[in-house]
């Protein structure tokens, strides 16, 4: 689909639902491994250990079948952090600051690699179910229902955006750079968007209560995939 202007906002909806499981590891275990790998980036302090951790993370990516092109997501934050840290360390320590700057940048990158693997392998709905094990029942339901219904909210917002743009509200990127248009955008897009979200939340809550939803203990359909 050709992405045009801010309409791209609404095209992210599918990523909330797309399952991309490559290996058969329970989501909880996957989450645990992610936290351990990310946290370990805070502990390694020398080049040898950092190299080892990079190798471990790349190995984990390969095991999970994550395409290497996903690493492109790291390039920009890594480059920005490296430039900033080189400048700061260089200002204080001169040439001696290059090594620690690169080292810290790599450590920061190590915190980012495991979440990329996690988001690739575990669909959002499965992750929501995993989180729900440690959450109160109602909060767990809210998380999974929000993720489940959010594409519908996005679709309503998309139609609203399109209708308002055709109506003449300045919503293209070029027009949005002019701050005097923001007031109109707030009035014609953001306010109705909040109204739509509130009204959908009301409808969904009513539908849940019509099926006897109440706060408190719920049981669980065992065959849910």
């Amino acid at each position: 689909m050709k992405r045009k202007n801010v309409d791209a906002l609404f095209m992210v909806a599918p990523i909330l639902e797309t399952p991309r499981t490559r290996i058969n590891i329970p989501a909880g275990v996957h989450l645990f491994i992610t936290i351990v790998l990310s946290s370990s980036a805070f502990l390694v302090r020398d080049v040898q250990w950092i190299s080892t951790m990079i190798a471990v993370n790349l190995g984990w990516m390969a095991v999970c079948g994550v395409p290497w092109r996903q690493l492109k997501r790291l390039v920009r934050p890594f480059a920005m952090q490296t430039v900033m840290l080189l400048a700061l360390y260089g200002f204080k320590q001169g040439q001696q600051g290059v090594l620690p700057a690169v080292q810290v940048s790599l450590q920061l990158m190590l915190t980012l690699m495991p979440p990329i693997v996690l988001s690739w392998c575990v669909p959002a709905s499965q992750m929501a179910r995993t989180f729900s094990r440690w959450m109160p029942d109602q909060a767990a339901f809210v998380l999974s229902a929000s993720l489940h219904f959010f594409p519908m909210v996005l679709s309503e917002w998309r139609i609203l955006y399109q209708a308002q743009q055709l109506r003449g509200v300045p919503l293209s990127w070029k027009q949005l750079w002019r701050p005097w248009h923001w007031r109109l955008v707030l009035r014609c897009l953001v306010v109705p968007a909040v109204v739509i979200a509130m009204s959908l939340a009301h409808e969904i809550a009513l539908a849940a209560r019509a099926r006897n939803f109440r706060s408190g203990k719920r049981s669980c359909w065992m065959e849910e995939i």
């Binding site: 992210v12 990523i15 979440p115 989180f131 929000s146 959010f150 809550a205």
Partner: protein, 183 residues
Amino acid sequence: MKSTPFLDRLPLRDALFLGFCAGAIIVCKILFRWHLGISGHAMFFTLIGLMVARSCVSFRWGATLTGVLAGLMAMTLGLGKGGPLILTKFVVPALVIDGALLLFPMALWSVATCIVVALLAGSTKFFLSWVQGIFLGMDSTVVVQRAAIDGVGSLIFSLLAALCVPSLLRQLKARGVIRDSTR
């Protein structure tokens, strides 16, 4: 696990609305990351989302719950530069907003007080960046400088968010979304 009593007081409708606000914060973060890439810009959407969520719902921890949901969504999607620490990027500003509104419930309805609340919430980026730097073993001076650079961008966008929020809330009130009881 048994539901905690404080969540039982939150109607499902309001809880779902908070979930949608959290989703909106994440979607804006994803979209504008492609187009802006200016440090701290995510704070603009985060604060608007958290403040609207808190104002439309009569639940005193509304912003925090939205922050938790946004953090969990961000974790599931592998967003952000903080890894698992991304949860704190949403929850800490949300706690500041909820805390400020506990003391001054009408703070978001005037531009001046809203700016104060937003700047307080925005400044959390400085502290989070500082803590992250300490954990990574950075040089102490560099830690402060880096945190300051991150914090300035965040404060600028917090200020912009604070300028939008009171007018947004007044319009939502005029349309019946925010009622006096909610305030």
